[in-house]
């Protein structure tokens, strides 16, 4: 239908007549579409990847001492929950041994219950220094909750397993020795690496990628505070029972006063996805600015086209072309630029978006998911719409030319 429309034919020929100029104008749209689609896909892939990571944690409950406020949800090691030197500090609420026993009594039959000591501290390997999260766990539970990429589980109070980031950062290997503690401020404790953990990414229970995990004895030997746990984690065996366990713990431990808070993955997921979506909208809006620039160049090309074709418009009008048809002709022209730009942009989005996702998210596992690919038609539609909007004023101007005046133009 549209292909048969003579006004559409005229628009196509007009675009072809000024091919270079048209391509340059469409190029702006290409860039804008690619920018929007790539940013959108990046956000979608981040969200999908985080969602997958966290949904693996759906059976995890984390119990912390009630601190009055909402309490941060960042797990141990998420930036160092405590500072070295204040390990005995009583200003920080801890889970007591009694509370742990209560929790274990309630939840023990539903899954694995274990306490966690955690601390951020200076470490030294040879003459290199850095920071790491030191985690102390009951040695009996370590094999139950952590897999190993290499080596074995720690058996003595001087052996530890470490996260893969530390391996990369300090070129550690099995058998390497490292010192925990700042030598300038006091004694250090030397430990030996016996196991290496696989990359676990974002988790709810323990962020182990940059952590040194040893026995509870090792931990309390360095920092003291025995029986004062940073958190108690429950890995519930049956997903259906997660809510029950959570409710029972809250009901029993908080009966008299608020003693503990229990976190599960759903709230965290909500909070992270909403942060990600805000961030994605923001970068997409910035990408949208490139489309604004493109809109200006489309507008410019359309105005040039109108100016050059004044006489032709006069002819069309004088032989009985309605204003609305003249408008349509120029809107076709803008749409063609938009379709060409948007089409090329869509194809390039696939390639560039893939590279951006690979670079920024680290995995293209979710690239071909609907939530991700959806941004391509979306960006294309935005690009085409912007083109058409840019064509509205030039088209309106063309249609309102006085036929006599237009015919006199040379």
């Amino acid at each position: 239908m549209i292909g048969k429309d003579i006004l559409f034919r005229l628009s196509v020929r007009s675009v072809r007549l000024h091919l270079l100029r048209s391509i340059l104008a469409a190029l702006g749209i290409v860039i804008g579409v690619v920018a929007i689609a790539a940013m959108g896909m990046m956000g979608a892939n981040m969200t999908l990847s985080v969602t997958e990571d966290l949904s693996k944690m759906a059976n995890i409950l984390v119990v912390r001492a009630y601190t009055g406020g909402g309490g941060g949800f960042i797990g141990p090691g998420g930036g160092g929950s405590r500072v070295v030197g204040s390990s005995q500090a009583s200003d920080e609420e801890m889970i007591t041994e009694d509370q742990f026993r209560d929790i274990d009594r309630i939840a023990g039959s539903y899954g694995t219950v274990y306490y966690v000591y955690t601390q951020s501290d200076t470490i030294e390997i040879g003459d290199r220094r850095g920071r790491a999260t030191i985690i102390g766990l009951d040695p009996d539970v370590v094999p139950e909750i952590l897999e190993l990429a290499d080596g074995e589980y720690p058996k003595s109070t001087t052996s530890v397993v470490i996260g893969p980031r530390l391996v990369d950062r300090f070129a550690l290997k099995l058998g390497s020795k490292l010192d925990i503690g700042d030598p300038d401020e006091g004694t250090t404790t030397t430990v030996r690496v016996v196991g290496i953990l696989p990359e676990r990414g974002m988790t709810l229970d323990l962020n182990t990628d940059s952590a040194i995990i040893g026995s509870d004895k090792l931990y309390t030997g360095i920092y003291g505070g025995e029986g004062e746990y940073d958190q108690v984690t429950i890995a519930v065996d049956n997903l259906d029972e997660v809510a029950t366990v959570k409710e029972e713990i809250l009901a029993q431990l908080n009966r008299k006063e608020e003693e503990v808070t229990v976190q599960d993955s759903s709230r965290i997921l909500e909070s992270i996805t909403s942060t990600l979506s805000t961030m994605t909208s923001f970068v997409m809006a910035i990408a949208g600015i490139s489309l604004m620039v493109a809109a200006v160049s489309i507008f410019n090309v359309m105005m040039m086209s109108v100016t050059e074709r004044v006489r032709e418009i006069g002819i069309l009008r004088s032989i009985g072309t309605q204003k609305s048809d003249v408008r349509r002709m120029f809107l076709y022209e803008a749409s063609i630029l938009g379709l060409v730009g948007g089409g090329i942009g869509a194809v390039m989005s696939l390639v560039i978006g893939y590279m951006v996702v690979l670079g920024m998210v680290g995995t293209t596992e979710f690239f071909f998911a609907g939530e991700s690919l959806w941004y391509i038609p979306f960006a294309m539609a935005v690009g085409i719409t912007i083109c058409i909007i840019s064509g509205v004023y030039p088209a309106w101007q063309a249609s309102n030319l006085d036929p006599i005046e237009a015919l006199r133009a040379e």
């Binding site: 003579i6 034919r9 032709e312 004088s318 032989i319 009985g320 072309t321 309605q322 048809d325 015919l407």
Partner: protein, 226 residues
């Protein structure tokens, strides 16, 4: 040949003023005239006397500053742009001094254009082809774009285009002005044939022998009928 007395074009004290910064130009000054159905009229007069302006008023390309103009009994001044445009499409065929073909379209498409605008579908009756062959444009030439055609060929295409919607009134602004006399005579033969078939034709010219094809000559001087 039979000329009815039914007036199709009536001008009553039509005045056209172009307001210019240097002062108003009165292109038409109180012109009253009546043209009947089937008449072949020429308009003559010196350059700048207002001939084209008069034709533009009749052709609904422009509306008079004052006075009344009616076509087929309808008051042009009361019509809106949409109605005037429709009149130009269906009732009036305009042959311009400068051909005014659409450069991006082939000869065939140029002739088909008003047909498409009117019927909103392609011509599948062979009407466009017949018209082109009537004015002496063969199939091969019909695929050419205007810049590839000679002046005479362009003018023939323009005539075919003006006729495609079978208009009641044919307006010609110096149709032979840009042609050699041989081609000019061929074009006039086409117009004379159309007149014999009952079309109302108004033609502007400044050549006496061309004017001789018409039944009546109106002379204009300084925007007035002389």
């Amino acid at each position: 040949m039979q000329v009815s007395q039914r007036p199709v074009i009536v001008l009553d004290r039509v005045t056209k003023v172009y307001p210019l910064p240097a002062g108003d130009v009165v292109a038409l000054n109180n012109i009253s005239l009546t043209i009947n159905e089937g008449e072949f009229v020429t308009i003559m007069g010196p350059s700048g006397s207002g001939k084209s302006t008069l034709l533009n008023q009749i052709g609904c390309l422009d509306v008079p500053t004052s006075g009344d103009l009616s076509l087929n009994g309808r008051d042009v001044r009361a019509m809106n742009d949409r109605e005037l445009t429709d009149l130009r499409l269906t009732t009036i065929g305009y042959i311009f001094q400068k051909f005014n073909l659409i450069p991006l379209l082939t000869a065939y498409e140029n002739v088909e254009y008003p047909y498409l605008m009117k019927h909103r579908k392609n011509d599948d009756t062979g009407h466009v082809r017949r018209l082109l062959s009537q004015v002496g444009i063969d199939e091969a030439l019909a695929t050419h774009k205007p810049p590839e055609l000679s002046g005479g060929q362009q003018q023939r295409v323009a005539i075919a285009r003006a006729l495609v919607n079978d208009p009641a009134i044919l307006l010609c602004d110096e149709p032979t002005g840009n042609l050699d006399s041989q081609t000019g005579i061929q074009i006039m033969e086409v117009l004379a044939g159309l007149h014999r078939r009952g079309r109302t034709i108004i033609m502007v010219t400044h050549e006496r022998d061309i004017a001789a094809y018409a039944e009546r000559t109106i002379t204009i001087r300084d925007g007035r009928v002389a």
